[in-house]
């Protein structure tokens, strides 16, 4: 299958290391002089830009965490002056503060380039009409996929999420050949297509680009079977860029990382020391070319392994395995990042409920569900079912406004939720994703 940018995607390892080293030096010099946050961190470690000459020097650099982004909300980590930014995305974050990422015109160009590499690897060409059903808007999914597909010359239907029946009909009527969305939405769409009396044989779908939430081989097979397409993984995170950080090729043996722009490392999440090849650890990215908000050694909290060696597709880039977990307690529900601490703060703000709670993530049918189990404080109990239901509704409404997805609230018998000492195990994830 075609390769969008063979010069970069099939570069020899030596050339790639050399390119990465050069770019790393440049980006470190850039953030040192434009981001006080990094200058201070580097000064604390006694590192100067000229100490960084090869890609191996990266271990001398400080890490960056989600907390750093939050503490420097909104624009503290932006390196480019405001006049250079052409776009800002805002992703969900803990305790109400979203993560703000500013992009310069060049950043948008790089993003379109790396996304075009992904869709080319999936076999998308100029004849294809692709429906993008990631959420458009502040979330990076919609526009990221959109620019990549447009860049390579295929046609985009910016479907976004919701309005699923109309979308299903258009997939048929327009002869849509590909779809980009979360894997759970793909299954929801498959159901809707069946519901309106169409089958996969009535459709021209042949390629699916799925990401933004963890998924399994079983889900891949189910999506492929029900939609009659070949399903590919696309990976990204808004802090680094958005969709397009890595992508599967036709070999479907790990996802190729666009490592000329995003340098990957795997570290032990406790010691932060690099781990050996094929060892599971936390994925860390350094943006090598970004202008708007360059990040050094950003801890993704995603756990996976890195694989080297030339791939059967001809690409030489490092591949990352499927994400097998998280090194924090974040849940990804319908593509949205949810931190238990967000839900906890809502529960604590409603006096009718006890502070104990259990969060249960599940997958019913094909959609992620979130249930919050709480206890009504005995002194607020009444003979009136409607009053208790109003407590539940108040909690559900507040949770939806904070995490932007809905959760059901279940009232439990007083004292039945385990009282744990310290940091309790409040989260049960019943989705079988591995």
């Amino acid at each position: 299958m075609a390769v969008w940018n063979p010069t970069k995607e099939c570069m020899s390892r030596d050339e790639m290391s050399e390119l990465q080293g050069r770019r790393l030096h440049k980006i470190v010099d850039y953030v040192y002089h434009n981001t006080p946050f990094y200058r201070h961190k580097m000064q604390e470690l006694g590192v100067e830009p000229d100490d960084i000459t090869t890609i191996e020097d990266i271990v001398k650099l400080p890490f960056t965490t989600k907390k750093d982004l939050r503490d420097n909300y909104p624009f503290g980590l932006q390196a480019a002056p405001k006049t250079e930014l052409v776009r800002v995305h805002a992703s969900s974050g803990t305790t109400g503060n979203p993560t703000i990422v500013g992009y310069t015109r060049k950043d948008i160009g790089v993003w379109s380039e790396v996304a075009a590499r992904c869709f080319t690897a999936f076999g998308v060409g100029r004849d294809d009409t692709f429906s993008v059903a990631y959420g458009y808007g502040m979330f990076t999914g919609g526009l990221g996929a959109h620019y990549g597909i447009e860049n390579l010359g295929a046609t985009v239907l910016p479907a976004s999420t919701g309005n699923t029946e109309k979308h299903a009909r258009l997939i048929h009527d327009l002869g849509i050949t590909g779809i980009a969305c979360t894997p759970s939405y793909a299954l929801h769409l498959a159901e809707t297509i069946e519901k309106i009396g169409l089958s996969k044989d009535d459709l021209n779908l042949r390629i699916g680009a799925f990401g933004a939430e963890p998924w399994t081989e079983n889900m891949r097979r189910e999506i492929e079977g029900r939609l009659g397409l070949k399903a590919y993984n696309i990976y990204g995170l808004s802090e680094i860029m958005g969709p397009g950080v890595s992508y599967e090729c036709e070999m479907q043996h790990g996802s190729h990382i666009n490592e000329d722009h995003f340098y990957p490392e795997i570290v032990n999440p406790d010691t932060l020391q690099p781990v050996g090849k094929d060892t599971v650890g936390e994925l860390v990215f350094t943006t090598l070319t970004k202008e708007g908000m360059p990040l050094l050694r950003y801890r993704t909290r995603d756990l996976c392994t890195l694989m080297g060696g030339e791939c059967g597709c001809g690409r030489t880039s490092v591949r990352m395995s499927r994400i097998i977990g998280r090194s924090d307690d974040m849940l990804i529900i319908r593509g949205i990042n949810v931190f238990p601490s967000q839900i906890e703060s809502v529960i604590l703000s409603i006096p009718e409920f006890e502070p104990q709670y259990v969060i249960i993530a599940d997958r019913q049918g094909n959609l992620d569900t979130l249930q919050i189990q709480v206890e009504v404080r005995p002194e607020f109990f009444t003979d009136d079912v409607r009053t208790i239901e109003s407590f539940q509704m108040r909690l559900a409404d507040k949770i939806r406004s904070v995490i932007s997805i809905s959760a059901s609230v279940r009232v439990m018998f007083p004292g039945s939720i385990e009282r744990s000492q310290g940091k309790g195990n409040h989260v049960i994830d019943k989705r079988k994703l591995i």
């Binding site: 009504v376 005995p378 109990f381 009444t382 003979d383 009136d384 079912v385 208790i388 239901e389 279940r410 009232v411 439990m412 018998f413 007083p414 004292g415 039945s416």
Partner: protein, 141 residues
């Protein structure tokens, strides 16, 4: 005109009802009538019993969610149509019944209910001289 009723929160899970009943048994409280109103996830167990105040304190001390409320208890002859006739009186005054249950006591039908307007309900009971159960008649048990 009204009697005390316990309203007890019970989760829809095996064992929760037994826990409540066991506590009442240990306290030597006699059940006279009871009913469960259920939602998908939980129920409210409503109980008419001997010594409701004491039972309330005992359950509360055990961490059970319980409320003590006043409900109307009307005595009816044990004959066909008496409930219909009685409820018509309330309906004519546009009083709505929130919930209702009934039981037999000494050969008489007892209608227990709560309405959306306590004041109007009292007036109807007085005007039509409906026979109500005094609380002390229940505590004999």
């Amino acid at each position: 005109m009204t009697v005390h009723q316990l309203s007890i929160f019970v989760e829809n899970r095996q064992g929760t009802l037994i826990k409540v009943l066991q506590l009442l048994k240990e306290a030597n409280v006699q059940l006279i009538a009871s009913t469960i109103a259920d939602t998908v996830e939980y129920g409210i167990y409503r109980v008419i019993c001997s010594e409701p105040e004491r039972a309330f304190e005992i359950l509360k001390a055990q961490g059970i969610s319980v409320a003590l409320s006043d409900v109307f208890a009307i005595e009816l002859d044990d004959e066909v149509g008496r409930a219909a006739d009685t409820l018509t009186l309330f309906s004519e005054e546009e009083i709505s019944i929130a919930y209702m249950y009934s039981f037999l006591l000494n050969g008489k039908g007892i209608l227990v209910f709560r309405t959306d307007n306590e004041e109007k309900t009292r007036k109807v009971i007085e005007e039509h001289q409906l026979k109500y159960i005094p609380e002390k008649d229940l505590s004999k048990y």
